[in-house]
Amino acid sequence: MESIQHVKEALNARSTTTSLEELENRGRKRVKVIKAEHVAQMIRESVERALTNDDRLPKEEIDRLVEASRAEFADVMAERQREQAEYQQAQSDLESTTRRLEAATEQLRSLESDLQEVEAEAEELRTQGGGGSEDLADKDAEIERLTKRISELEARPAQSPQQDAVSAQLLTNMMSELATLKAQTQLQQQAAPQPQAAAQPDTSMLETFVTSMNDRLEQFGKKMGISSAVDAGDVDLSSMFDQTEDVELESNLDSMEVKAKSGTGIAANLERLKKLKGGGA
């Protein structure tokens, strides 16, 4: 039965599927059909007959050869199946990695969006006047912690699946912390007293935070290969002509004489042209 399965697989691998309509279009009204079992049977009989008819081999040797061939075939089949399984696993890993990368990219975009909101709110806070020094101290600590997290994220080299998972987790944490920071800012804004002309809020820390976050997100985006975050510098096209510019080619042209012909002079033509242009005698 095993041999029938092998023959079926071999037939499947080497055959094409054609619809009945296509066959009819080609003018075929009847087709002959043969079962895989019959093909296997024919092969087996042919091999055994060939071996049996060979008087040089005793029956025991023939049986041993047949058995050895079957074992070898089984090994080859097993190897192919292993390779197929490995290929499927690799495909699965690749898809999984791609999904994680897409998720991380999406989170990064979301993070950038949140940061812009925080930036806008910080600007608003700055214009309206901030809270007291205690609030700013708390915020300072938050900023310090966030900056540290970003540095950690930035320092991680890409991109094993495990590392991707960690990066995604870090990004999630960052998003969460930014959301917290945003909520705190909103609360602080609501609780803040009306600004007084004489009392200028200390906004330098917020500005530093915003600048720092922008710079680091820019760097991180570049590392992630997000096109919008990558500077598009001037394109240097000079290399297009590298092959043709300033290439000294070895040749013997210096020692060759070029074919020269004597031509009629152009003095008369020049004279007439000068007259025509009013510059001649």
Binding site: T244, V247, L253, A260, K261, S262, T264, I266, A268, R272
Partner: protein, 348 residues
């Protein structure tokens, strides 16, 4: 030697030496041949001509020394020996090969990536060093074609850069306008200049040296060769060789020559029909009170019987203006280069 003591600060504007000779060189960048016209101290003209073709050969067959001894110019490019110019054409015929061509249909060939370095070497060889820094060099360019989509802008810009790199002040001039400069002096540079080149036929109608209309058709000597090669089952280079081996298209000898004659006549009819159509349907066409001359030039017009067949075919069409003389340039191969030289010397 030219005297350079009176050169102005702007060399491009100074075109005359103390000996009264005008500086400047003319360069015909043809599909089939490259020719440079140079004025000598005694006022005579020398035209250096080289075929615009090359051929790769195996360096195990011909050593460099052998090639040099045989006066065969070569270039080593990408580790290959490349024979350039007329020798490439001759070798191709001996070995039944086709030459490679840097230009096609009058313009830089997009199919020959190796072509530009070869062409640069040929230009440098025929043109030589400038007599003075920034000497004028006028090179010819084709006009846009009536029958195919082509663009001469890249071609013009590329060769302007190439010629400038050799130390010249490079300027382009229409190929058929150059024929007007070299051949229609007696008519005060009024008439029709026709340049039958390898890749194209160019036409220019000029009045008092000023070009009124310029155009081209994308048929020339190569078109004849391709068709002869196809119908006779021979190589393109072989067809070129037959065409250039003393055929008289009024009296062809054998089937190969008959094929050449048939396609020549067809080319002439095609060009005349397009010139006539252009005159008839064109707006702002000049009106001439006197019959105008038609001057033919270019390597493709050098075949025996060309001008006679041209006159025969011209007589068959009802040309929309009176025409006086129809003639071929005394030296049709170098006429464009000489016209470019006239333009360079006058600073046109």
């Amino acid at each position: 030697m030219t005297d350079e003591t009176n050169m102005a600060d702007n060399p491009a504007e100074m075109t005359e030496t103390t000996a009264g000779l005008c500086l400047g060189k003319g360069l015909d960048l043809g599909t089939a041949n490259i020719a440079a016209a140079i004025q000598q101290d005694d006022g005579s003209i020398t035209v250096n001509v080289e075929r615009n073709a090359f051929l790769d050969i195996g360096d195990d067959v011909y050593s460099k020394k052998m090639l040099t001894n045989a006066k065969v110019p070569y270039v080593v490019h990408d580790g290959k020996l490349v024979v350039i110019g007329e020798a490439a054409f001759e070798l191709a015929n001996v070995f039944g090969k086709n030459t490679r061509r840097p230009m096609a249909d009058g313009l830089i060939s997009a199919n020959e990536r190796d072509a530009l370095p070869m062409m640069r070497m040929i230009i440098s060889k025929v043109l030589g060093e400038p007599a003075a820094p920034g000497e004028n060099c006028y090179f010819c360019v084709p006009a846009e074609s009536l029958d195919v989509e082509n663009d001469v802008i890249y071609h013009t810009g590329r060769f302007e850069a190439e010629v400038s790199k050799l130390g010249y002040t490079a300027k382009s001039i229409n190929e058929a306008h150059a024929v007007v400069f070299s051949e229609l002096a007696e008519s005060d540079f009024t008439g029709i200049g026709l340049s039958f080149g390898g890749g194209m036929a160019n036409a220019c109608i000029a009045y008092k040296s000023i070009p009124c209309v310029s155009f081209s058709v994308a048929r020339g000597g190569d078109w004849i060769d391709q068709n002869v090669a196809r119908v006779r089952g021979i190589k393109h280079s072989k067809a070129t060789f037959i065409k250039e081996s003393g055929v008289d298209i009024r009296d062809p000898q054998g089937e190969d020559q008959a094929a050449v004659a048939i396609y020549y006549r067809n080319l002439i009819q095609y060009v005349l029909k397009n010139v006539k159509d252009r005159f008839e349907r064109g707006q702002n066409m000049p009106t001439f009170s006197e019959p105008i001359d038609i001057a033919c030039a270019g390597g493709t017009s050098m075949v025996g019987g060309f001008i006679e067949v041209f006159r025969e075919e011209f007589a068959k069409i009802d040309f929309p203006m009176p025409v006086g003389r129809i003639f071929r340039a005394e030296d049709a191969l170098t006429a464009v280069a000489r016209g470019c030289l006239v333009a360079a010397a006058i600073g046109e």
